[in-house]
Symmetry: D2
Subunit: 378 residues, 4 copies
């Protein structure tokens, strides 16, 4: 049961940000911490092994556990209580040593983000491949360029597609770079790693390695810029999908009719073709932009822990990824179904395109195709 | 399964904005339309009765039905297909006559909003009652007033509580006024009610009456100001909850210690008291403010139907109510559990409060208490 | 010298929110306070008269005075220093008694807002009159209705104009109601009016009357909902202008060509007609929506005085009015210059409009015309 | 005359984004274009020299010229008319060849952004130097860490300062990287560089070099991600300033009193110390965040030119830089004036700090000091 229209997520993103997946990511952190501490000789290897086993089992009622966190004060207190019920006293005493709730929550979120970036990456590649095909296929297909929706000068549909594609390629590169540098959080109660003692650096490195994250210069408990950068990037991807969607709606409007996409039907007018995927991309991008700002425009996180600004991330980050995932999925469906009406383009243009214009547009298309090849998109 | 932390909704709001409840609200519209059309003699009474029966039964898989809308183009097309499977040909032909998807979706949303406002009303009354008690009880309890968090001059805790309460009373009045004037949507495919013929006004009034909504001057398919006003008002309620929460966190901080609320515990420091309900109110208010802007800052809805801006409401409005509900619930728990430390207040103030100050503060408290009585809050 | 493009304000709004006008509004508050206190017997009439005289004279370098406030801590401290240089010791001791900076700044802002609402009112009336003319003139002029920019069913251009007009009428009513209930701020250092003694209510009423404001139930130093309601309303007006502008751009696009407005020219293509006023309305509405949120989405104002959230209003409120003024001015220019191409409308529609449709549309137009008459718009 | 409170800009930023400076930046583009075209043999060298001369002279009334753009349709049409009045027919025919308004406006904006980034860079370095001093000086000065404003565990003030500093260093690096890659805009009327013919690449490179910008893969007329990235980065800098300011307000509040900064005075309470610079940083950061969203949350720019979304940048980008400049200036003043009360810190902490804690905090401080040295901040 979701509490908003299902068009604003995808099946995979909903799963990734479900209560179960979130609690599981928290368990993975506790297991990684125990493993790293055992390696450093801080807790017995036996205890670590036990913790890893218990943390690998799915938690029974993740939703209730998270809800309980709002009574006890933190989702981790509730989780630890549940885990310790299955642990020996020794392992129960060894779990979560030197860590604080924020370490668990932030690191778990980063691992979910990593998986979310992978889902987006696959979706973007699909969109990019569709646009690449159109850019190459229609490299020299003339159409009229429109500024302020007024006819301006001739251009080609291939260049239009290439101009949709190029920012996506830069965003894909940004997303991959970011994926490779997601920081672990490990600072203890006030972010100074005191409780990890002299082994702080070693343990932090061990946890990061186990979780596939990197070690930041310092804990980032109230510096949210790492998170903000990811969220901004994801919002930008959604924005690109929205731009493509908005343009597709314009180009497929009744009076223009230069392209057609997979179309939905009306509840009252059987013959009407509504560009439903493009509309969904536009809507999801708007939603993404709004929830992104919960993070990007958050009031400052106070001193050593944000009062509310931190917690609001638990609402916003999952929704940023779900809405962005929806926007990318939708624009992939739209882009993959574009039918180009070259005759209509020619008729709307009204004049013959000059060879010089075609050459100029084609040259720009080639630059984007080269960049696409360089990004490994086929 | 929700796709974000459960602290950002309440059980009742989650239910109200579930897929099932939404589809059910859509069915109620179709039933009301059929009933009104039968009354106007536009469709047979028998068909209307059949439609009302079928629409009263719960839809099997509401979530899938809504998801299917993103393929077929509208959630209503999918719903009608499902309903018609259970209707006679006559009733199947009579359902949805003269209406369009937007009529169903917008009117259904308005009825959900009505119920959401009732939930908020009950929550606000609870908060207001708790604050009223504090205002009266501590009418003359001296404490220091703080501007820019610096000690300024003496005031009373009763006045602080009264100043939290007063805007809530105005918002409660606004919310009740708004609840009484939520408009039905009924315009047909392009908002001119053509398909309803000469009976347009009669049918519209009939549908409105059946749904507990009012008849607007004109259809509002691309004038979203009715919706925007509700959303703004609800966001304002959440904002008031957030302000109270933020102040409670300040007043309960270690160095100030003038109040205590129901407290959560830390995962690492057993003795620590975290003002978890206040924090939740702050966080939920931030979330509400962001999603509200999907509606209040939406790009204009184009001509006779919004491209994406309309659909984004299906994401945002449910979340606005859920987050606002969470903020109100949380601040109710906080306000209802406030313990006042008068000795600490006196110690922080450091000087004796002058009778004139107490009288001035008390006079303002009395104005708010009178307003509270006028609002019927006990 | 403005620090942003002049298209985002109007001459009158820029003047109204200039440093000089702001300081002058602050002086008016000090004069009103002195007058009211003299009436209540709290300060000598002679001192009040002197204060009123000095406050009526323009301040030499208002910009520097406001800038100095960021060194001394408040713009009022700098202002008082400047005023006292021209006052006798008696009057110098009597000015600002029992008030605090926030009383001056907030009340002054409310008087600027009152004048800003008057400017908007005049602008809206102009737009409404233009739309009323179009609604009446084209009550039965057929055109195609477009949903998702796809041809849907026939409607009339008069109804399109009426649907632009109707929300403006409601907003005009809201704006007038709001103008009549703008609250004075008078609470003293911590908002309990202690320093005004037993005469607090009398003095507050006197200041309010002199400034043309009303007396609120309680001071609103950290309850910004009064301000938020005005800002929201003004943003909504800008939004309506933006919606009209966006639709005019769509209807005047090359392929549609159903209307023409006063047009700018291109720097590179002499024959091109850019709908510059509509574009300006869209842009100014976007700008307004963003700055409005400085107020509507402000973090809570702490305890007895906002830390930053209050000061940010000094940036945002002037810009909200300037951008809204620009949007209204621009859409007035656009709406007043609309040329309707009925032949093109008929051609795009392609079919003959049925009499029943025309009658239905006309009936709705009539409802809006009646509402327009009721609002006194000619 | 600014139209908002002067605390939300700095003298240098106001100058940089004045009408005169903007028109001057546009002239620089026309000069660079003429120079590059002469080098490519597209226009006579004599004409280019004449254009360069005329473009170097200040424009008489820049404000009126920009305002005129909202009548004629584009600021560039008005500018060209003014320039051509001073040019020979030959040069008048050679200026602006192959370019369109957006080329001029966007490229000019990028050069203003470059200078704005330099101003921010200098401001950040000043803040960073002050924080570096504090981090080193108080590397081992114990204080209590506060989470949710509740006492948690001991930390050091040097680490608090280092944690404020570290994100600024990353932002400084980001800002320098971005400064080195600001793209020129040169695409002609529809962004395909047709009018520049076979020399398009050469001319684009020439213009970029003259303006100190880089050549993008393709024109970015409706892909605003380049701009969005700069704006986001600048907003992030303002956000860091706001976080520091908010923390300084907390630490200097009456009950905590661990630090003092340069303080303003109250208009009503002589002894009160208001942390005015920190407050200004918080307020300016809030303002920056809001105006940044005009760009980052803009509705998609349509096809080959944004309708309003583009123009709104002319409002927002100058304000983003002005407010960010204000935030950085303010926090520089605050950070440079911090007096640390070690005795109060010790008293608030209440317990002796353990050597292991000091060592852990010191080790993290050292990591930040090393990063600071690497960034060349002294």
């Amino acid at each position: 049961m979701t509490a908003f229209d299902p068009g604003f997520s995808t099946a995979a993103m909903t799963r990734l940000f479900s209560a179960g997946a979130r609690v599981s990511a928290m368990c993975n952190f506790e297991a990684a911490l125990a493993g790293a501490q055992a390696d450093a000789g801080l807790i017995p290897a036996r205890a670590a092994a036990e913790i890893e086993d218990v943390c690998a089992a799915p938690v029974a009622d993740a939703e209730s556990l998270l809800a309980a966190g709002w009574v006890t004060g933190t989702p981790v207190a509730a989780l630890l209580e549940s885990l310790r019920a299955d642990l020996s006293p020794e392992a129960g005493g060894a779990i979560h040593c030197g860590a604080t709730t924020q370490d668990v929550v932030d690191s778990a979120l980063m691992t979910q983000i990593r998986d979310g970036l992978d889902l987006l990456d696959a979706g973007i590649v699909k969109v990019a491949a569709a646009l690449r095909f159109l850019a190459a296929e229609h490299r020299l297909t003339p159409m009229v360029g429109r500024t302020f929706l007024q006819h301006a000068e001739p251009t080609t549909f291939g260049l239009r597609a290439a101009l949709w594609l190029e920012p996506l390629l830069r965003q894909l590169a940004g997303l991959r770079g970011r994926r490779a540098s997601l920081p672990v959080q490990l600072g203890g109660p006030v972010g100074n790693r005191t409780a990890l003692g002299e082994q702080a650096a070693v343990v932090t490195a061990g946890v990061a390695k186990r979780l596939g994250l990197v070690v930041p210069v310092v804990p980032w408990h109230t510096d949210r810029s790492h998170l903000l950068e990811v969220v901004t990037l994801v919002d930008r991807v959604a924005g690109s999908a929205g731009k493509i969607g908005a343009d597709l709606v314009q180009l497929s409007q009744s009076e223009v009719g230069e392209i057609r996409t997979r179309s939905g039907k009306s509840s009252s007018m059987p013959g009407k073709r509504n560009p439903i995927d493009s509309i969904r991309a536009v809507a999801a991008a708007q939603a993404c932009g709004a929830v992104a700002r919960v993070v990007t425009a958050a009031p400052p996180h106070q001193l050593e822990r944000g009062v509310g600004s931190w917690h609001a991330e638990w609402f916003a980050v999952p929704l940023v990824f779900q809405t962005a995932g929806a926007a990318v999925e939708a624009i992939g469906l739209a882009a993959g179904s574009i039918e180009v009406d070259e005759a209509r383009m020619a008729a709307n243009l009204g004049v013959a395109a000059e060879p010089a214009m075609l050459a100029a547009a084609g040259a720009l298309v080639d630059r984007v195709l080269a960049a696409t090849d360089a990004a490994g998109v086929k």
